[in-house]
């Protein structure tokens, strides 16, 4: 039964959507999750519906042919997690919506049993009674002893938060596909092994039977056959048949088009396979059916020496027989790999959905800033491929090619599909679809897309025909295909005409009728059932004979979206326009009047007057950006930012704003922390596995930094030293104290490259010039021994390169700082209480600095003369004017930006292969001694 809370989530969004049409929305990446219950005065962090489990978990279930649906294991494997939640009941639920057409056996008109290479199905379902929502990933594994050779399994990500499942659908789907692929790879391997064993058994049996028959023939010369002989002959014949069948099965399983797993850290291969290959060369004739897939072939030919057994005439598939466990089905190696992957999923999606989204957005944005992100961010985790990409890679159709095409076509004038038609295809589709409606919708849609997306349609067609079997009780609200079509427009949220797809989806949800069944399938993703073209061509029998259920009956409605190429084009054009303006303005400098004016299309206020953000966050899809490459993407970004960044009025005004917002920020964070205890997810939510340690580090560093700026009145010049690239030496006797200070200050140190931060926590030997090149923050031991004298001597000698913070006497010797940036960065009266909050505050301001440095670095005429004859002085003047007037930098702040710009330059011009010789930049400026 669908209870009210399930529906209520969508009720208020109709008004909001209207607003969306009126108000130009801000770029999605700046938006904050919209809280759907805001109007009702509810605690946003309170539970929507009381669920019986404490936190999200992953459940693996099997539809056992002996006992029916049964839960196999949960991740985390902890009884506390699932609590009183009825796993058996839920297993029954999720296994009952298996869309997979898992027909195996003797299809009519076929001599031999056929294996169906059924693709996984992905559905979202909610069980309001249990307060559980789940992403369910069905997959089929092969088992020679199972009925029809198949064992249906499913993996489910179960959460109390429906939004989380819906919004993270793509990511979940991608991650679970990886896990499933791993399981299936292992299973194919194990199945092939099993088949080979069986074949040997059969071969042996045949030989034995043959011998017996021959003996009987010899013994019996009466000219007629005894019943015994006939029986033997029949038996022999059935064994022969069985051999052929099994050989055929083996051929099928081996010829499965092996899809390379795209992910680099994911290696489900066993290295010894290759070594064993030579040994099993004799078996190759069996597998020679497909020479084009050597990788796949050798994967299955690995077999230990095996002694054949005699097979009884009828090996009955009995219920008393013990079925293989999942581990046995998939080979231990692959099984553990899968478990690792599932644990990874669990950790990745742990926590509140807002947190996840924010994290994803910031990560995606960070990734996009390929030129500047190395400065203050830990970019190591960015190397990991985003799940979206991975997912797209998994799909047969080259989405990239489509994107490319969209980009190419974007410049050409084309028919813009009106919003009306868009709406009609999205909103007016009732859930219980009538046949004629579908008919009427279909051509309309295809006409508009026909010309340039014919292949896309083929793809979709295959999709619809896929392996969807659904009963009346299941409502499919949107297919994955429509979702991925959506992603085109999602990234274009800045365009006012495009409503937020999430809103669109939710709207559909709000209109659905109340179903009798308590299970509702909110979304399904049959896209994996797409069969790659090459596979289709080479193995038609295995595919084409697969019986399809009636496509039209299932109530599946595919709702295509607006042609993505069109809005890409529009957006691009507008972006280009703004870019041109900006570029010209940059070069001319302050003389250009429109430089200071916000650009009309792009310069929307980041938030509304009342502070309510209108657009819910969307999972970020970096690949959909119209602009490609490192620099252009920045262009796009700076194009949007420029008006604010360069408006000095804005800058001066924003100082107050940022202060006040800062305070709010700290308040709300503490509020979150207190509220978090009432939340279902009591565990901290590290959104990323690799970040977990970094998170802790950040928190601690932030806390220490807070303490530092409160304790030391000369924190500003110290931080300035770090930001301007002057090495800061923290001198002290107590190692712990020094290290603490170094940790605190390390968050202000810009990275010189993608490698580790130039921070050395503890040094006991005298410093040398080379050290200042390598490290920008050094903890140094002070000793009274003669060696200590050398240490101090070195410090005094190189004092022009150093700022020295004496932790024991609480003094600082460094150049004067009179700028304003650091004051905002490290206000000792700050109300921020928590380390992580402060860390974020620091990151915010540092990011601002980065963007200024980026602008400064990449404005051509700030560094090079406009014309040949232009004297160097005028370029210098222009540069200084830009820094002072356009970027609003005062005094020493200029040096910070100049230093960052220098780092950016070095980073950009550095060839990827070579490290480059580190250089040390310094100034001849007097130092001053600060005391408490």
């Amino acid at each position: 039964m669908i209870s009210a809370p399930d529906v209520v989530a969508f009720t208020r969004e109709e008004e909001l959507e209207d607003d969306l049409y009126r108000e130009p929305p801000l770029p999605e990446e700046y938006s904050v999750p919209l809280f759907p219950f805001a109007g009702q005065g509810a605690n946003p962090w309170a539970k929507v519906a009381g669920s019986k489990f404490t936190r999200d978990f992953i459940l693996i279930s099997e539809f056992s042919e002996q006992v029916g649906p049964q839960p196999l294991l949960t991740i985390p494997d902890d009884a506390k997690v699932s609590g009183t939640f009825d796993l058996n009941y839920f297993s029954l639920r999720i296994m009952s919506v298996d869309y997979q057409a898992s027909f195996v056996g003797h299809p009519p008109g076929s001599a031999y049993p056929k294996l169906n290479f059924v693709e996984d199905s992905k559905v979202v379902l909610g069980d309001s009674k249990e307060g559980a929502f789940a992403y369910v990933h069905h997959l089929t594994l092969y088992d020679l002893e199972a009925r029809g050779f198949v064992r249906p399994f499913c993996m489910a990500y179960i959460s109390a938060d429906e939004h989380k499942i819906m919004q993270q659908f793509q990511e979940l789907s991608a991650e679970f596909s990886k896990a499933s692929e791993c399981l299936k790879t292992g299973n194919r391997k194990a199945f092939a092994n099993e088949l080979e064993k069986k074949l040997k058994d059969l071969d042996y049996t045949r030989t034995v039977l043959h011998n017996e028959t021959e003996q009987q023939k010899k013994a019996n010369d009466k000219g007629y056959y005894t019943t015994q002989a006939i029986e033997k002959a029949n038996e022999l014949a059935s064994v022969e048949k069985s051999i052929i069948e099994h050989q055929d099965l083996l051929r099928q399983i081996r010829s499965y088009p092996y899809r390379k797993l795209k992910e680099s850290e994911f290696h489900p291969y066993e290295p010894e396979c290759a070594l064993d290959r030579a040994d099993v060369g004799g078996d190759q004739d069996l597998t020679a059916s497909d020479p084009t897939e050597p990788g796949e072939t050798h994967l299955y030919t690995h077999m230990p020496s095996y002694t054949p057994k005699l097979i009884k005439a009828k090996s009955a598939k009995c219920f008393d027989k013990k079925l293989k466990t999942l581990k046995e089905l998939c080979d231990v190696y692959f099984f553990t790999q899968t478990l690792d992957q599932l644990h990874h999923i669990e950790r990745t999606f742990r926590g509140d959905v807002c947190y996840l989204l924010t994290e994803q957005i910031s990560r995606a944005l960070l990734k996009q800033q390929s030129v500047t992100n190395f400065l203050f961010e830990d970019v190591s985790f960015l190397d990991e491929k985003p799940p979206e990409k991975q997912y797209r890679g998994c799909q047969g159709l080259g989405q990239d090619a489509v994107d490319e095409k969209c980009l190419e076509e974007s410049l050409a004038p084309k028919v813009v599909i009106s919003l009306g038609s868009y709406k009609s295809s999205v909103e007016c589709v009732p859930i219980k679809m009538e046949q004629e409606m579908e008919d009427s919708e279909e051509p309309k849609m295809s006409e508009s897309m026909m010309s340039e997306h014919q292949e896309n349609l083929d793809y979709l067609d295959a999709d619809i025909k896929g392996s969807i079997s659904s009963g009346e009780s299941i409502e499919v609200l949107g297919t994955e295909k429509s979702g991925s079509g959506l992603t085109k427009s999602e990234s274009q949220a800045s365009l006012p005409v495009i409503p937020s797809p999430q809103a669109g989806r939710s709207k559909v949800g709000s209109r659905r009728t109340v179903s009798e069944d308590s299970i509702e399938v909110l979304s399904t993703c049959p896209s994996e059932s797409l069969i790659p073209e090459d596979f289709k061509a080479s193995y038609p029998s295995a595919i084409n004979e697969e019986p399809y259920v009636d496509d039209n009956e299932g109530g599946l409605r595919f709702t295509p979206r607006l042609n993505p190429g069109v809005d890409d084009g529009q957006d691009d054009v507008s972006k280009q326009e703004s870019l041109v303006q900006v570029d010209a303005a940059c070069c001319i400098g302050k003389e250009s009047p429109n430089f200071l004016e916000p650009l009309p299309e792009l310069g929307q206020k980041p938030c509304e007057e009342d502070g309510v953000v209108r657009i819910p966050p969307q999972p970020y899809r970096p690949a959909e950006q119209g602009l490609r490459g490192g620099f252009p993407s920045h262009d796009g970004l700076s194009g949007g930012l420029l008006p604010y960044e360069l408006d000095s009025r804005y800058l001066t005004g924003s100082r107050e704003v940022s202060k006040s917002s800062l305070d709010e920020c700290s308040d709300s964070t503490s509020y979150i922390s207190s509220a978090a205890s009432t939340c279902s997810d009591r565990t901290p939510s590290p959104a990323h596995l690799a970040c977990a340690a970094g998170e802790r580090h950040r928190k601690r560093a932030g806390q220490n930094a807070l303490r530092f700026i409160r304790q030391y009145p000369f924190a500003h010049p110290a931080i300035y030293s770090l930001l301007s690239g002057r090495t800061l030496v923290v001198l002290g006797e107590d190692e712990a104290m020094v290290k603490k200070l170094v940790t605190a200050l390390s968050i202000f140190v810009p990275n010189c490259g993608v490698y580790a931060k130039p921070v050395k926590h503890w040094v006991t030997s005298p410093l040398h010039l080379v050290d200042f090149q390598k490290w920008k923050l050094i903890g140094l031991q002070r000793t009274v021994s003669p060696a200590g004298v050398n240490v101090l001597h070195a410090l005094s000698r190189y004092s022009r390169y150093l700022s020295i913070l004496d932790a024991d006497s609480k003094t600082l010797r460094c150049p004067l700082y009179k700028g304003t940036v650091v004051a905002r960065l490290a206000d000792h009266r700050t109300q921020i209480k928590r380390g992580s909050t402060y860390y974020m505050h620091v990151q915010t301001i540092l990011t601002q600095l980065c963007s200024k440095a980026f602008l400064f670095t990449f404005c051509h005429h700030l560094h090079l003369p406009i014309s040949e004859r232009e004297p160097e002085e005028s370029v210098v003047n222009r540069r200084i004017n830009f820094l002072k007037l356009q970027l609003g930098l005062a005094n020493e702040d200029i040096k910070i930006v100049q230093y960052l710009a220098e780092l950016l330059k070095l980073h950009y011009i550095q060839e990827p292969g070579q490290g480059g010789i580190p250089l040390l930049r310094f100034d001849y400026v007097p130092s001053f001694l600060y005391k408490i």
Binding site: P632, L769, R797, H863, Y924
Partner: protein, 458 residues
């Protein structure tokens, strides 16, 4: 209070305090070197730096390895291995045999008694000679005669292909420590306290027959000659360990002038220079000499002295230019002078002239150049000028480069590419103009942007 804490606050100290090293504060507006690159590679003291072409230089030292570097990027271009002992002399030359393309070669001599010719482009060993009885201490290429000279316990003359053309008899008393080319096919060789003039002549019976003759021995120095440089075609200068500086006529090898009291502050300039050394030889030793058309610049002990050739006197000096012996000085085109010292620092000086005001009280006598009342840049009108209006020269410290942790042996001025210094701490440091480097990087950046096509609007 710790010393290092006070250290920074020091103001430039002026010239008042006697015998204390002049220091400059941390504010050095005129010092262009605001960026440095540390070049690592050597495993022992680096003693020699030679320029190969506009952007390459070679370094050599006690580890016997020669490195070739790119002076712009600091990139290590080549490592030349071949010597087993420390390098004692290094000289570059470019061979342009007729129409053939120019190849840059360097020739090195080592304590392993070998001389090797290297190809700088390929890093290959072109030729190796190992028939020496003693270590070769100096190498000179005579462009006019197209021959090589190597000086050790004897003077050998080689042709370009390093075939021995002729050599002198064994010099018993000392080895040749320095060689300088003189007009009329002569060379001056510093052998201990003596200066020997050799004349090279091609013998009559064949083009390949060469002869080297000792022409004259000059015994005016009281101690070992430590430096020998040629000023112009008519003059060359020698300096000795006891601080004698003698200007020689290059044609008839007579003493034009000499200066040997400039190390002694107590001596009144009018008193003539027969006073003997009261100071330890280290402090008065003429470590290095360099010259331009007007002046000879001498590194004497810890000080730097500027000797005007026309006025025949020291016109400016910095008695304690460094904390320790000055090892190398060089005159830059822009009236600046760079010195490096055993104390590990490099200092940039500027020769300035100060209009003396008559009312100005005479300082406590740090500069004895107050006595050079008639000193004047324009020598033709010098004598007639009134003392009040005569310009007075002084060396002003405009910057110092602190980077090496041990004695800076030598440096090489690359113009706007910067300055390379080598040191006993095994390092070579490239000092660069930060502003220039920054704009070069910008240029490279926009070049790369254009290359990547990122400048196109998409």
């Amino acid at each position: 209070m710790l010393r290092w804490l006070i250290g920074g606050g020091r103001e430039p100290q002026g010239l008042a305090e006697k015998s204390s090293v002049q220091t400059i504060g941390e504010e050095q507006i005129q010092n262009p070197y605001t960026e440095l690159l540390v070049l690592k590679g050597h495993q022992d003291i680096v003693r020699f730096l030679v320029q190969i072409d506009d952007c390459r230089f070679a370094s050599a030292g006690d580890d016997g390895i020669i490195f070739l570097w790119n002076a712009q990027t600091g990139e290590k271009l080549c490592e030349l291995h071949g010597h087993t002992h420390k390098i004692t002399a290094i000289a570059p030359f470019s061979s342009s045999d007729g129409t053939e393309e120019k190849t840059d070669l360097i020739i090195t001599a080592s304590a392993d008694r070998t001389v090797i010719v290297w190809d700088c482009t390929s890093g290959r060993q072109v030729q190796k000679v190992s028939c020496f009885h003693s270590t070769v201490k100096c190498l000179t290429f005579l462009q006019r005669l197209n021959v090589w000279l190597s000086g050790g316990s004897d003077l050998c003359v080689w042709n370009r292909k390093l075939d021995l053309l002729c050599k002198t008899s064994h010099l018993t008393d000392a080895d040749i420590s320095a060689l300088v080319e003189l007009p009329k096919n002569c060379v001056a060789a510093a052998v201990g306290k003596e200066l020997i003039i050799f004349r090279l002549s091609a013998s009559n019976n064949g083009s390949e027959g060469w002869n080297v003759l000792e022409v004259k021995r000059l015994v005016d120095h009281q101690d070992n000659i430590s430096s020998l440089v040629s000023v112009n075609d008519l003059t060359f200068v020698t300096g000795s360990h006891v601080g004698e500086l003698i200007i020689w006529d290059a044609l008839d090898w007579t003493k034009q002038a000499s200066e040997c009291n400039f190390w002694d502050s107590s001596v009144h300039p009018d008193v003539q220079p027969e006073i003997k050394l009261s100071q330890s030889p280290n402090e008065t030793s003429v470590q290095h000499l360099t010259s331009d058309e007007e002046c000879v610049f001498a590194a004497v002990g810890k000080g730097i002295y500027v000797y005007n050739l026309q006025m025949k006197r020291v016109i400016a000096c910095q008695r304690t230019a460094h904390d320790s012996s000055v090892l190398h000085i060089e005159k830059l085109p822009n009236r600046q002078l760079i010195s490096c010292s055993e104390d590990g620092s490099v200092r940039i000086w500027e020769l300035r002239e100060k209009q003396q005001l008559p009312a100005e009280p005479v300082p406590t006598g740090f500069f004895n150049m107050w006595g050079f009342g008639r000193a004047n840049k324009q020598a033709n009108q010098a004598a007639k000028k009134m003392q009040e209006n005569t310009p007075v020269y002084f060396l002003e410290l405009v910057g110092d480069l602190i980077g090496h942790s041990s004695a800076v042996q030598m440096f090489l001025y690359f113009g706007e590419l910067g300055l390379a210094t080598c040191s006993a701490d095994h390092l070579i440091i490239l000092w660069k103009d930060g502003e220039r480097e920054s704009s070069l990087r910008s240029l490279a950046l926009f070049k790369k942007l254009a290359q990547n096509g990122d400048l196109q609007l998409k």
